[in-house]
């Protein structure tokens, strides 16, 4: 089933949101939001640490632990993961999946080390990609780092394929051109990265409406990530899932029954005995 992944950008223990990775503003308590998203039917939750300081990294682990204590869905954590020990510390705090970005570009062997030591779910590669020429689709995408300030010149599609060869578990593909703009996912980026390997691709950056999500899933994404649309409380995760279903997308509708209720009920589907 396609996944809907709400994302919380976190700095120093608070949720923040910016446009094109810049201009951060405070948007609340991560635990309170995480619980609300999980209850609404989020299939996974992404916590992205965007703080620039060492102190912020310590706060990230505390945030992961606090969120983990409360929610029983997968937790994908990224931001500032430089070493195997960083990834391990996040796992110990309660992350289930760990994403690497800049450190993997600097040293691709890190992806293989993470996959071999901690498993493919800890070798999620986040790729921030920008169009080389916004006027020319054929110019392709290059990997950007440091909040988009550094253009690496590396071809994003080739990098995704290389990561697959290194044992990566998934590609988190964020469009730098679309991030925070609400102009919809960059479908060309989604298509090209999905074709680059057999790894699942999470589309990220630019989601405004449910039909943006439906298009990204149609373009080959296994999951869609969104932050902004949930932040102002305008629409809930449950609202978005209902609309996606109405659009014909087979997303999970979470069981609403409490554990004590399900125990007294017979199985929903008894097989017919011949």
């Amino acid at each position: 089933m396609p996944r809907l992944i709400p994302c919380l950008d976190v700095a120093d223990g608070r949720v923040v949101k910016g446009v094109r990775f810049q201009g951060l503003r405070d948007a609340g308590d991560p635990v309170e939001r995480a619980v609300r998203y999980a209850e609404g039917g989020a299939d996974e939750l992404c916590l992205l640490d965007v703080s620039a300081t060492i102190e912020g990294r310590g706060a990230q682990r505390a945030t992961v632990a606090a969120v983990r204590a409360e929610i029983g869905i997968p937790l994908l954590v990224g931001g500032g993961v430089r070493t195997l020990d960083d990834a391990r510390a996040l796992l110990d705090a309660g992350a289930d999946k760990v994403a690497v970005n800049t450190a993997a570009i600097a040293r691709p062997a890190l992806v293989a080390e993470l996959a071999e030591t901690l498993g493919a779910q800890c070798a999620i590669v986040a790729i921030d990609a920008a169009r080389r020429d916004p006027e020319d689709p054929a110019a392709g995408f290059e990997v950007v780092t440091h909040g988009g300030r550094t253009r690496t010149g590396i071809d994003a599609v080739r990098w995704a394929a290389e990561c697959a060869g290194l044992g990566a578990g998934e590609i988190l593909a964020t469009s730098w051109d679309r991030d925070g703009t609400g102009e919809g996912y960059d479908l060309q980026l989604v298509t090209e990265l999905s074709r680059a390997s057999a790894l699942p691709v999470i589309a990220s950056g630019g989601a405004k409406r449910e039909d943006d999500m439906a298009r990204a899933l149609g373009a080959g994404a296994s999951a869609v990530l969104a932050a902004t649309i949930f932040h102002d409380g305008e629409r809930s995760v449950a609202d978005v899932k209902r609309t996606l279903r109405a659009l014909g997308i087979d997303v999970r509708v979470p069981a609403l029954a409490t554990p004590s209720e399900t125990r007294t009920q017979p199985p929903a589907e008894a097989p017919i005995q011949p």
């Binding site: 089933m1 396609p2 996944r3 999980a38 299939d43 996974e44 632990a65 983990r68 204590a69 029983g72 869905i73 997968p74 937790l75 796992l91 110990d92 705090a93 309660g94 992350a95 289930d96 999946k97 071999e116 030591t117 901690l118 498993g119 493919a120 779910q121 800890c122 578990g169 998934e170 057999a198 790894l199 699942p200 296994s222 999951a223 999970r252 979470p254 069981a255 609403l256 029954a257 409490t258 554990p259 399900t262 125990r263 199985p267 929903a268 589907e269 008894a270 097989p271």
Partner: protein
Amino acid sequence: MIVRIVETGLANVASVRAALRRAGVTAASARCAEDVEQSDAVVVPGVGSFDSGARALIDARLAGALRERVDAGRPTLGICLGMQLFAERSDESTGRGEPGLGVLPVPVRRLRAERLPHFGWSEVASPADASVLRPGAAYFAHSYALTDVARLEEAGFRVAVATEGETFAAAVERDGFVACQFHPELSGAYGASLIERWLDAARASFEAAEVMPW
């Protein structure tokens, strides 16, 4: 009732521990055979590769104690790789590879799916006579699975199935032994209720043992 999580230093146990805590249980760690023998309920979590997981169980001398628990029908819950380790062997192994515990008389196969790993939620269909397993959507994170469902059923296991590219055993159950390819600790309300049912069954057998006069 003593609940322990097998910790060999490889698997990530934070999510399992948190899920048990939400179910009202503070779990200790099982690091040696005595811990496994002297627990009323044991969880075998698992993340990582089959060979490293199997090797870790052998090195910690846990393999025999785990096999005995399951053969005796004592409450034991395997999760993801923690399920696969109860099988005979795995396609994931390199070279000669490590043997599994052999409780589940089938090999672990690489899934024939379009995209791997299979990260995400799939519908689980469970047999009507299962006591812990139920139908519903569960969260999976794996590339390998036990695909010989018929052989598992012949061996006396109740088998719940899911499909990703092909049909595979999403979970098995026999007496107090439950093994899930999915992650109940990450499967929201569906997983939480499964963990509660398993704990309830474990508590019932613990209390039954308590009142026995001998």
